[in-house]
């Protein structure tokens, strides 16, 4: 019998009522009295020297308040990078300046040349067209390998080259890894590209800067996944505003997928301009602007090699990756191909020796940073593709080869510096085989063949690392931020609770799932708990939501704060019932004295805390409000096994997904319905990457797929009904809820399953094909079949 409340129940998402009825409060819904509008004049050339900018005609246009250029930001800080990677020689990465508005050069199509602030948005756009910009075009640096060639044009003239860093991991392992390859019975090699993606949240980015002349306070309303991080980065590094004079509000946010983690120049601009003009300044991205200004994702070019012994045991793994940084370092860009990627290269397997090399490269393209999964999808894709190729080369069953090499004993220390606490990889694979009806596949393949179609089955496993932590470790790895989470639990006099969390919900359903935890702990109805988030003015310093960390880290902070609440409430209850504190029990929202029929209700205790007439004032303070900061001991390690079944039309190359099944181990689960939804969404995005999405640049640095006319997003008809199973649960050992996180799993686990299935289908049709790069579009499949 499923529970109807508390942990493990699936109440409907309470926030959806306002989202679906048009009563949400998104940043663009916010109208600040007297707000002006900014339009950014963006470069339509990928790389050019700015010879001159003439604002005379534009400044005289109707409604123009002021036009800003890079010159207005001399002496102002640049957009900071939040992670410093140390290269394989012990040197820090090359870190270019990133001005709020371009200074001296433009470095990608979309780079901001000028910002026009006007009374109306149309007036700002009109004036922007009247700005005369004299640009001297330079050769565009687009291809990563060409960017590193001797004598290549430099994106940043003051750096020694276009190489951001050359990272080796674990550098000390390299000789042993190379030796293992020498001794291998079989080596499988695969070269592939992890395609560049545009995140495309439904809500484009918005920023409103406001300044209160009376108090000297600045406020930024912004579409962010982590308002405190924005406050810290922008206040401390860009604008020099102390945190007590800067408030950042991220209200309802319509999807983030990583691209709303980062601190963007538009946020700093609006905050700066509001103070300079003593007017609120609002910017709303158009969809077209989003394509050339939101940080992109992925874009790795990789060569991966897998060494096996004569018994098909994995003996070593070696990878060589080029990771595109784009023109500037976005907030967490350097961490994605390194600490979020190299540490995951063991996957679910007991490969004893691993060496990962990553060269991060500057190019004249939009900056690249974390996108749903961030480094982990890149790791999983290459690993699971090369294993599939090895199985085919060796003539063994891909599932059997994986099972043979599974890690089965936990905790398990990988050769890439992380320790998995729990997992059951055979368990998830068992669940998958059953759900995917693997035994019926050959029959289905014959049915497809009878209709002239090729059918393929692809499987893969994944391991994820969520809730990046602990802070002292990530500090050593180069993070310029902590990675704890915070929560304040405020119990009101009549018993209702408000939780102010540092986590931020932008689609994850925190307002529903977080109350389930507290309701379970206290034994009250979920409707008595509200979640507040997204405003630095009323939430404790938190790190926000990304990396599937909210329930594992933010939820744990909330549990710790609630434990403090319960401990204090028991003292109050003991006083009210004249009993010993140790004898007080809390159950179903009432405190009782063990072994007696004495009891006081939750509401009696909370009222006593705020109306302390009969209260132990000499022992404890009035009130019932507690804050906790939780810094985890380790990452969490969700894992799973995914299977995809495709049909390929050999006449056109079109791939259709016939079935997709996902067996995940997320540890304990708070709300199974929300978890299902997270997995569904993630798989949808993964199928999008595998079949459709492609942010492609031409050799001049023009984005060819800069609108939905050419950038293919997955639609309902592109995806099947998913099979989702999370019955295999090995709880996390080091957080109080035993949870692992589920937000990114679907996007990590699905692309390799799709491509493995397509390769399987084509090989069943007699095509000697080992790999097709994503997106596996009809034309690419046809080309592979006929090339």
């Amino acid at each position: 019998m499923p529970k109807d409340s508390g942990i493990g129940a699936s109440p409907k998402r309470r926030e959806d009522v306002r989202f679906l009825s048009g009563t949400g409060n998104y940043t663009d819904d916010i109208q600040v009295n007297g707000q002006a509008y900014v339009h950014f004049l963006r470069s339509d050339i990928a790389h050019a020297k700015i010879i001159g900018i003439n604002l005379d005609a534009a400044s005289a246009m109707p409604g123009v308040i002021k036009i800003f250029t890079g010159a207005d930001f001399e002496g102002v800080g640049g957009i900071p990078c939040g992670w410093q990677v140390t290269d394989r020689h012990g040197e820090p990465m090359q870190e270019p300046a990133h001005p709020v508005l371009a200074q001296g050069k433009v470095r990608y199509v979309g780079d901001q040349i000028a910002a026009v602030v006007a009374e109306t948005l149309e007036q700002a756009r009109d004036a922007a067209e009247a700005i005369e910009v004299d640009l001297e075009e330079l050769p565009a640096v687009v291809d990563m390998k060409a960017a590193l060639a001797e004598g290549a044009t430099k994106v940043h003239d003051d750096l020694t080259s276009n190489l951001c860093y050359d990272w080796g991991f674990v550098e000390e392992n390299k000789p042993a890894v190379d030796a293992a390859f020498e001794a291998a019975a079989h080596v499988t090699t695969l070269e592939l590209r992890n395609n560049r993606l545009v995140a495309n949240p439904m809500e484009p980015r918005v920023a409103i800067g406001d300044f209160n002349r009376a108090t000297g306070e600045s406020t930024l309303y912004t579409t962010s996944q982590n308002p405190h991080v924005i406050r810290l980065l922008m206040g401390a590094f860009v604008l020099g505003i102390p945190e007590h004079k800067l408030r950042v509000v991220a209200p309802d946010v319509g999807g983030g997928f990583g691209t709303k983690i980062f601190h963007y120049a538009e946020e700093a601009f609006c905050t700066f301009a509001a103070k300079a003009l003593n007017r609120a300044v609002k910017w709303t991205s158009t969809r077209s602007e989003a394509f050339i200004s939101d940080a992109h994702g992925r874009d790795h070019v990789t060569k991966i090699e897998l060494a096996l012994d004569a018994d098909n045991n994995f003996t070593a793994l070696r990878t060589d990756t080029y990771a595109n940084m784009g023109a500037y370092l976005s907030t967490f860009a350097p961490s994605v191909p390194t600490w979020l990627h190299g540490t995951l290269m063991a996957g679910n397997y007991k490969t004893p020796l691993i060496y990962v090399n990553v060269k991060a490269v500057f190019t004249n393209t939009v900056p690249v940073d974390a996108y749903r999964g961030a480094g982990r999808p890149e790791a999983t894709y290459q690993l699971e593709r090369v294993i599939d190729k090895a199985a085919r080369e060796l003539g063994v069953d891909p599932i059997a080869l994986r099972r043979q090499n599974f890690i089965t004993e936990f905790p398990y220390a990988t050769p890439v510096a992380v320790e998995y606490d729990t997992g059951d990889y055979h368990g998830t694979m068992d669940a998958l085989e059953k759900m995917a009806d693997l035994s019926g596949f050959e029959t289905r393949r014959k049915e497809s063949e009878a209709r002239g179609k090729l059918r393929g089955f692809g499987v893969n496993c994944y391991i994820e690392a969520c809730g990046i932590a602990p802070s002292n470790l990530v500090g050593q790895l180069g993070a310029r931020a902590g990675l704890y989470e915070s929560a304040t639990v405020r119990v009101n006099a009549t018993g209702g609770i408000v939780v102010m969390t540092g986590s931020h919900s932008h689609g994850q359903g925190h307002e529903t799932s977080f109350p389930q935890v507290i309701a379970e702990m206290i034994g009250i109805d979920e409707s008595m708990v509200e979640i507040e988030h997204g405003d630095t003015a009323n939430t404790p310093m938190g790190m926000g939501t990304y990396g599937s960390r909210s329930i594992a880290v933010g939820g744990s902070a909330m549990v710790r704060a609630t434990e403090k609440i319960i401990a204090k409430a028991k003292k109050i209850a003991a006083h009210l019932m004249e009993a010993a504190e140790a004898d007080i029990e809390l159950k179903d929202g009432a405190f009782s004295v063990a072994g007696t029929d004495k009891s006081v209700a939750w509401g009696d205790v909370t009222l006593a805390a705020y109306v302390p007439h009969n209260y132990p004032l000499e022992d404890i303070e009035p009130g019932l409000e507690e804050t906790a900061f939780y810094d985890p001991a380790n990452f969490t390690y969700p894992s799973g096994a995914y299977a995809c079944e495709v049909e390929v039309d050999p006449d056109t190359g079109k791939v259709t997904i016939e079935a997709f099944n996902a067996a995940d181990d997320f540890g304990n689960i708070i709300n199974p319905m929300i978890v299902d939804g997270q997995v569904h969404g993630g798989i949808g995005q993964g199928i999008g990457q595998a079949l459709l999405e492609n942010a492609a640049y031409d050799e001049n640095g023009q984005l060819l797929s800069a609108s939905y006319m050419d950038y293919a997003m997955p639609r309902a008809s592109d995806v099947p009904f998913y099979g989702v199973d999370h019955s295999s649960q090995t709880p996390c050992t080091h957080n109080p809820l035993g949870v692992k996180g589920c937000g990114e799993a679907g996007a990590i686990g699905s692309p390799p399953a799709v491509v493995n299935a397509v390769v399987d289908a084509l090989r069943s049709g007699g095509h000697d094909i080992h790999h097709i790069d994503m997106p596996v579009s009809p034309s690419r499949v046809w080309q592979a079949m006929n090339g």
Binding site: R125, M709, W782, Q783
Partner: protein, 262 residues
């Protein structure tokens, strides 16, 4: 979007008059023009909506049996009302999405002549007559390359007359992002021969594949064009497919259209 004037006349004569203003432009369903204007890529001084002209709406059968469709008739109305010409109704039913079909018009589509639009294939394969406020233009003379037609400045498509074939079918292979035709092939079999029109594929816009027409006029079966494909020369190569791929798709879709028409 730049500022513009707007008129919604109720007669063709008033529309023609309104279009006399410099840089005035006719507005059908606006499914291409309005997004273009929002992007500030078009700046007409005036939009003249053709939606209020009753005589340009609807579908009827002419004395010669041709299906006559008013220039301002929406794709949805053609999909629902052109049952006498199933191939054409099927084409209309597959344009864009329901919102596009509810607003977009046949006249607007043919006047724009997007090289990947569906209607040009239907009109050309049918040997349709494009009727304007000033004259009648044969489809073979009307389409003159990408976004280029025989229409003069200010000329309005008031009606399109389609001879109804004995058998017909339209096959579209969608470009994955826009869902326009990466390649679309319309096959129509008339008593005096078969016409095959291809959209989406050529740098010169919609074209007739005469080689296939000749083969199919002799033997209207997929086998007749089994080993045939147009030259890839002059076909579009882009992010979504090479010229060779498009040439291959023309071949596949022609066979499928013939098979479906039979």
């Amino acid at each position: 979007m730049y500022n513009f004037d707007f008129e919604k006349p109720s007669t063709i004569a008033d529309a023609v008059s309104a279009l006399g203003t410099e840089d005035a432009q006719a507005l059908g369903g606006g499914q291409t023009l309005l997004p273009t204007m929002k992007q500030r890529l078009a700046s007409p001084s005036k939009l003249v909506s053709l939606k209020g002209i009753a005589e340009m709406q609807g579908i009827c059968t002419g004395d010669d049996g041709a299906l006559c469709i008013g220039g301002a008739t929406t794709h949805a109305d053609v999909a629902a009302g052109a049952g006498a010409y199933a191939g054409l109704a099927g084409l209309a039913a597959g344009i864009g999405d329901p919102a596009v079909r509810a607003r977009g018009t046949i006249g607007g589509s043919l006047a724009n002549n997007d090289p990947a639009a569906c209607y040009p294939a239907g009109a050309l394969a049918s040997g349709a007559t494009i009727v304007t406020n000033a004259r009648e233009i044969a489809a073979d003379d009307y389409f003159q390359g990408m976004f280029t037609t025989a229409l003069e400045e200010g000329e309005i498509i008031t009606e399109v007359r389609f001879p109804v074939p004995e058998a017909s079918n339209y096959q579209k292979f969608e470009q994955p992002a826009s869902r326009f035709a990466l390649v679309g092939v319309f096959v129509a079999k008339y008593a005096d021969g078969v016409r095959v029109a291809v959209t989406g594929a050529s740098e010169d816009g919609v074209f007739r594949w005469s080689e296939a027409e000749a083969a199919l006029s002799g033997n209207f079966s997929a086998d007749a064009v089994a080993d045939m494909a147009p030259s890839a020369d002059g076909l579009i190569s882009d992010l979504h497919g090479s010229a060779a791929y498009r040439a291959h798709l023309v071949s596949v879709l022609t066979r499928r259209a013939v098979a479906a028409a039979n």
